[in-house]
């Protein structure tokens, strides 16, 4: 199963993860 987020954000939105990275609930995903 998968979770997919699709959202609007400002042009300078930054992701805080890498492709293939294992993540935990509540960990940083991105910042505006």
């Amino acid at each position: 199963s998968s979770i997919v987020l699709v959202f609007e954000g400002p042009k300078d939105f930054k992701f805080a993860v890498q492709r293939g990275e294992s993540v935990k609930i509540g960990a940083p995903l991105g910042r505006i």
């Binding site: 979770i3 699709v6 993860v17 609930i25």
Partner: protein, 317 residues
């Protein structure tokens, strides 16, 4: 006589690949016809590849329901440690952070699969507006291509945003002004991120930010595997699988959260949509979907789902 019997044997065997091949072509054609007939862009996801056609031949939905019933069988207490221990070892389940640390306390494989986290075993980052909604592996993330609205499920393999969200979802969650529903709004971009949950991950999911929910959309569909290898070989995969999409608005505009089912994990439960049933018997009408407007009684006055709000969980079957 030996010659004719070997010829007969070969001709028998020969029939099997021919039948499979014809069935594959039939599936490919079926998807094309259904897509064209419905005439709705969102119904005809990306081109169906051979791998996909092959997978679509499998009765994955009844198999998934059968698998769920098997996984729900109550295990005798003496068998729990060896059986569930083996599952945990193979799929690296972390029981220290679960609300029950002893295998004997889990009645079935499903009970282990839907285990809750121990209070306080996760903290929701305060400094970032967006946090991870679940445990898992980041398959892909980035900007949605504004021109063709294609989203990458993995590098170079796409699915269509409108096929994924279904018709009119953007309009229903933007302000009533139809112009406003053309996303992304001026000065914004559309982003996406895909997180894959493996068999050993905790299968509960939480709100990744503070946002107001408007709609819960259930799109029945296939239950193909969404493992990384499948996302690489089957374009349009995410727009084919059964999924439940929550849509609303956050501080920067449109926001949607989709729980996508997979082979053997066909059950999606939402905390604010108790009567939702996925992977139901009796198939589904290709291209069908059901919308439920989220009301105050489910989420509270402000309709706000704050960061860390428990949105639901997956289950086997």
């Amino acid at each position: 006589s030996t010659k004719s019997s070997s010829l007969r044997r070969r001709s028998t065997w020969f029939g099997i690949p021919v039948t499979l091949g014809v069935a594959c072509i039939g599936i490919l054609q079926l998807y094309r016809v259904l897509g064209r007939e419905k005439g709705e862009r969102w119904v005809s996801p990306q081109p169906v590849t051979w791998q996909l056609a092959g997978f679509l031949m499998l009765p994955t939905r009844p198999l998934s329901r059968w698998w769920g019933s098997l996984m729900n069988l109550r295990l005798p207490v003496w068998s729990r440690a060896p059986l569930l221990g083996l599952y945990s070892q193979v799929f690296h389940c972390n029981l220290e952070e679960s609300d029950r640390g002893d295998f004997k306390d889990y009645e079935s494989f499903s009970d282990l699969f839907t285990r809750n986290l121990k209070e306080g075993s996760r903290s929701f980052d305060e400094k970032h507006e967006l946090v991870c909604p679940c445990d898992g592996k980041v398959l892909h993330f980035g900007k949605v291509n504004k021109d063709n609205e294609l989203i990458e499920q993995v590098k170079g393999v796409h699915y269509s945003l409108s096929a994924f969200l279904g018709p009119g979802l953007l309009e229903r969650t933007s302000t009533p002004d139809p112009i406003d529903s053309k996303l992304p709004h001026k000065g914004s971009e559309l982003y996406h991120v895909v997180i894959y949950l493996g068999p050993g991950d905790n299968h509960h999911f939480y709100s990744p930010t503070d946002w107001s929910l408007n709609i819960a959309r259930h799109i029945p569909g296939e239950l193909l595997t969404v493992a990384p290898w499948a996302a690489k070989t089957m374009p349009g995969l995410f727009a084919l699988n059964e999924r439940v999409i929550l849509a609303g608005k956050w501080r920067s505009g449109f926001f949607s959260f989709a729980a996508v089912g997979a082979y053997n994990v066909g059950s999606i439960h939402l905390s604010m949509h108790k009567d939702l049933r996925t992977n139901r018997k009796g198939g589904y009408k290709f291209g069908s979907y059901t919308d439920k407007v989220i009301s105050y009684k489910e989420v509270g006055e402000s309709l706000q789902a704050t960061k860390g709000y428990h949105l639901g969980h997956f289950n086997m079957g």
